[in-house]
């Protein structure tokens, strides 16, 4: 008989959950439900997951109406205990049978890894899925994790926002349970203002369709399509093109149940403001999209996504226009008044702006950055930029005390750059100020100017090192000062601008600017940067074992590490290379067993032809590797190393390293040590994981 299968539908009705948390929460809920069902031996068909700000919906098809019956084995005492030497059941066997409520005749002997045991087998009837779900669903709801939670109900249940209704159906029948003072039912709720409040549903399809009739689009994909086409239409409707903004798009998809796009306009006079400011005011504060003309200039219009199907009389548009006008008037006012005080004249006021409680003010920070710049620029061979860098360093934090940045904090740096430009600063100076907070993430672009790159790097270096000196060290999920992100920023700039520099040096210089010499946090910082490099390299798509091999060979010059990594990953696939790697593991093992080893082998003691061959090969390869290393041609270096494969193989076949004669043994160990050192300057290839392919 085939088991009857049914559909499970759950809708969690909530007060508006923050847009950024929705997708993750609904995914967790789906995963958790699937996991619970699997844990109950229940198979599942296709799963569907939707969400809006007011609901998380999961549908799972084809779940059996009850569990399969289960044959369970209960193990008792070992056979040797259960039967005496005459083969008669002992008291232990009788007790076991009695405890399980079966006659002794029903017991069996079973073979286990530990030997033969007495056991019984019994049939456990599968439970009705409906009954199981009454427990599984509330447990799955309770497992959803949010970055921030609250409680509101008498049972102290925690969630992102209050739960207000729950639909739970298994094959059209309500699965009844109570959680957070809410009892599940088969009633959903429509759009807050356009829909009915109490709508019966009996399946996933009816939930979707009835909600659509009540002005709710449950599927985020559908809302996305509707918003995108509305944005296109409205942008083209005023002869422009949409300024694409994927993050904002994602946000508005999760802020609305019935999205439509409203186009409004603002007065031309506001176009005198820099584009960056206009876009930010619209985006950050009002979640509006901007529209550009064909020449890339901003048009005096905005596109708002609203939670209604239409704005028939333009009432909503007028309201949004009024709000934006006030915001832009503020911005225009700041733009005018801020410029009455020159940026440079604001440096003193930075004494009153706190950078970090224990690290002083932004004035102090500026001084440290200034002290670092000549050393870093010098090490990078960019001392010619120093005059511009100095000028930018003086100005870089001054916008923190402008009204514009106090109001639009996301524009820090950009505003300073714009003011500096308006005051006639040189390109290299205002751009450095403008770009100092770039890259904003590992996927965003680095500063485009050389001065911007160096300033941005030094500024972050100062923050990271400072945080370490006062114990603000990231651990686990705790990183209140976003030190990791700043570390990523430093490395990304190094890679994007191909800056070759010693981490050890810059860390020491930065700590010196804090008045700390030979500080023990140096080691912590070194490990921190190793962690950041590992993260970035893996994010760039490099295999973890290649990353391990490279980092083990050193990473003081991160750009150099990246170049070695690139070469290694490329060569990794070569057959010679893998076998070399496996031999190298043996080398490393032997050396680690041998303890401390140094020195070069005594050539006259290399009696075995295989060891001579290895030594000769080493002498041939070494200058090649060194030359390739000097020209940063790590591909060539690794290929030279790989050419040793044959002699290394031969060596291990023919030569017994751990010879009885200590002098011979030590000489051979020295030989291996020399070879290993040659590798170790590029990559510790013993870290390469060799997959045994089919």
């Amino acid at each position: 008989m085939t088991m009857e299968k049914k559909e499970l539908v759950i809708e969690l009705g909530v007060e508006e959950i923050p847009a950024s948390m929705l997708e993750n929460a609904s995914r967790q809920f789906e995963d958790s439900l699937l996991e619970s069902l699997k844990g109950q031996r229940l198979s599942t068909g296709a799963a569907t997951r939707w969400h809006t700000p007011r609901r998380i919906i999961v549908g799972i098809q084809e779940i059996p109406a009850s569990q399969e019956d289960l044959l369970e084995t209960v193990t008792g005492p070992p056979k040797s205990v259960a039967y005496d030497s005459g083969g008669n059941p002992t008291k232990a066997a009788q007790a076991f049978a009695q405890k399980n409520g079966v006659p002794l005749s029903k017991t069996k002997i079973t073979q286990t890894p530990k030997g033969e045991y007495l056991c019984i087998e019994r049939k456990v009837r599968g439970e009705k899925t409906h009954r199981l779900l009454e427990r599984l669903i509330p447990a799955a709801i309770a497992r959803i994790q949010f970055p921030k939670t609250m409680h509101w109900s008498p049972d102290h249940f925690r969630f992102a926002r209050p739960l207000r209704w729950i639909v739970a159906l298994f094959g059209a029948k309500t699965v009844r349970f109570t959680i957070a003072d809410i009892t599940s039912s088969h009633f959903t709720t429509g759009h807050r203002f356009l829909g009915k409040a109490r709508i019966p549903v009996d399946s996933l399809a009816s939930l979707r369709d009835r909600l659509r009739e009540n002005s709710v689009l449950v599927d985020p994909e559908e809302r996305l399509v509707r918003i995108q086409s509305g944005l296109q239409r409205e942008a083209e409707g005023c002869g422009g093109r949409l300024l694409e903004d994927p993050d904002l798009l994602k946000t508005v998809v999760n802020l609305n149940e019935a999205p439509s796009v409203v186009r409004g306009s603002f007065e031309d006079r506001f176009l005198a403001l820099p584009k960056e400011i206009l876009i930010t005011v619209m985006r950050e504060h009002q979640k509006y999209f901007s529209v550009l003309d064909n020449a890339g200039r901003l048009l005096p219009v905005f596109l708002a996504v609203v939670n209604l199907e239409s704005d028939g009389d333009g009432i909503i548009r007028t309201g949004h226009e009024r709000v934006l006008r006030a915001r832009l008037a503020d911005a225009a006012f700041f733009w005018e008044t801020d410029r009455k005080i020159k940026l440079a004249d604001r440096e003193e006021s930075l004494r009153h702006v706190l950078f970090q409680e224990k690290l002083g003010s932004y004035y102090d920070k500026t001084q440290r950055v200034r002290a670092l710049l000549p050393r870093v620029a010098g090490a990078l061979g960019r001392s010619a930029l120093l005059t511009d860098l100095e000028a930018a360093a003086h100005l870089c934090k001054c916008d923190l005390v402008t009204e514009m940045v106090k109001e639009f904090t996301d524009l820090q740096g950009v505003v300073g750059g714009l003011y500096a430009r308006a005051e006639g600063s040189r390109d290299a100076v205002w751009r450095a100020v403008y770009e100092q907070y770039e890259p904003k993430s590992t996927s965003a672009s680095s500063p485009s100017s050389d001065t911007g790159a160096i300033l941005a790097m030094v500024d972050r270096l100062d923050s990271v090192c400072g945080c370490f000196t006062v114990g603000l060290i990231p651990s686990g999920s705790g990183d209140p000062f976003a030190v990791r992100r700043q570390g990523n920023g430093i490395l990304k700039i190094i890679f994007d601008h191909r800056l070759s520099i010693s981490l050890k040096d810059v860390i020491e210089w930065s700590l010196a600017a804090y008045g700390r010499e030979r500080d023990p946090v140096c080691e912590g910082l070194r490990e921190f940067f190793e962690g950041r490099l590992r993260f970035l390299f893996e994010e760039m798509g490099y295999a973890y074992d290649c990353v391990n091999a490279i980092l083990a060979a050193g990473f003081d010059d991160p750009l150099d590490a990246l170049e070695r990594l690139r070469a290694l990953q490329e060569l990794r696939q070569a057959p010679d290379f893998l076998s070399l790697a496996s031999n190298f593991k043996r080398v490393v093992n032997i050396l680690s067993q041998a303890g401390e080893v140094t020195g070069v082998p005594n050539e006259s003691m290399l009696r075995d032809p295989a060891e001579s061959a290895l030594w000769q090969s080493y002498l041939r390869v070494r200058p090649e590797v060194e030359a390739a290393r000097r020209s940063h041609d790590y591909g060539a270096a690794l290929r030279s190393l790989a050419s040793m494969r044959g002699v290394v193989d031969e060596f291990f076949k023919a030569v017994m390293v751990m010879a009885e004669d200590p002098a011979t043994r030590n000489n051979r160990i020295s030989l291996l040590y020399s070879v290993s050192q040659l590798f170790r300057s590029i990559a510790d290839i013993s870290k390469i994981v060799i997959e045994r392919g089919v």
Partner: protein, 301 residues
Amino acid sequence: MRSKNIQQIILTLEQFWDRQGCVLQQPYDLEVGAGTMAPETFLRVLGPEPYRVAYVMPSRRPTDGRYGDNPNRVQKHHQYQVILKPSPKNVQDLYLQSLAALGIDLKEHDLRFEEDNWESPTLGAWGIGWQVLLDGLEITQFTYFQQAGGLDLDPISAEITYGLERIGTFIAQVDSIYDLKWSAKVTYRDIRHREEVEFSKYNFEAANVDMLFKLFSLYEDESKRLLDIGLVLPAYDYCLKCSHTFNLLDSRGAISVTERVGIIARVRQLACEVARRYLESREKQGFPLLETNAAAQPEPA
């Protein structure tokens, strides 16, 4: 329908929340930065006693002064503050009904609840909630209090803080709050503009910094002394005076980076101690409102 002036908005809200069983309190007679700081919120949300209260609270934020020149920013604005403890299941609906009572047709407007979690470091208080946007204009802060005075709250109160000027400009469709009608004949400008000019000048230029620093210390000492002799409510008054004095010093630019954190911590210490002692005092009194209100307040349908 003719749009409501400010006092009609207040009257409508008073009537609405009266019907929801709220005590209609009068504004607290001390300077505060927000309705939350009034004892009717900060203290009433503590402990197990149910309570519903609504009141207008003139709120002073000295640094927001603009000498009467800015159409939307003032150093004193008016909040309409509602506390529902415990928060009823239909609290969002109640709020939306109150907007309807003000004559706002929500089928024709874009209303949304956008994430905005409230936090007050000086009160050791925080909550989870939203800012309510009406056609893009923030008109209300809606918060489920989680902690006040450093104490975890149970039951949870819902706090609804209407910005009266914001709602007024929305309803009247004016660009400047000074163009609002306060009563049928008198404008916001008529009764408030001069106050904004003078207080902006006072807050930014004329306030006596030395005196304020002295007052801060005096108020702080007094608050501590009163706590020591078990006069919790007067102690809280002096804590509020400290807070406002700090705000004035801040608007005078008299507080340095390092001082700032320390001073906020001192006020918070007072607020947390007041909260703890208040709760003890209510407990000693047997939480008198437990019975009164449990009987008086049916759960709204």
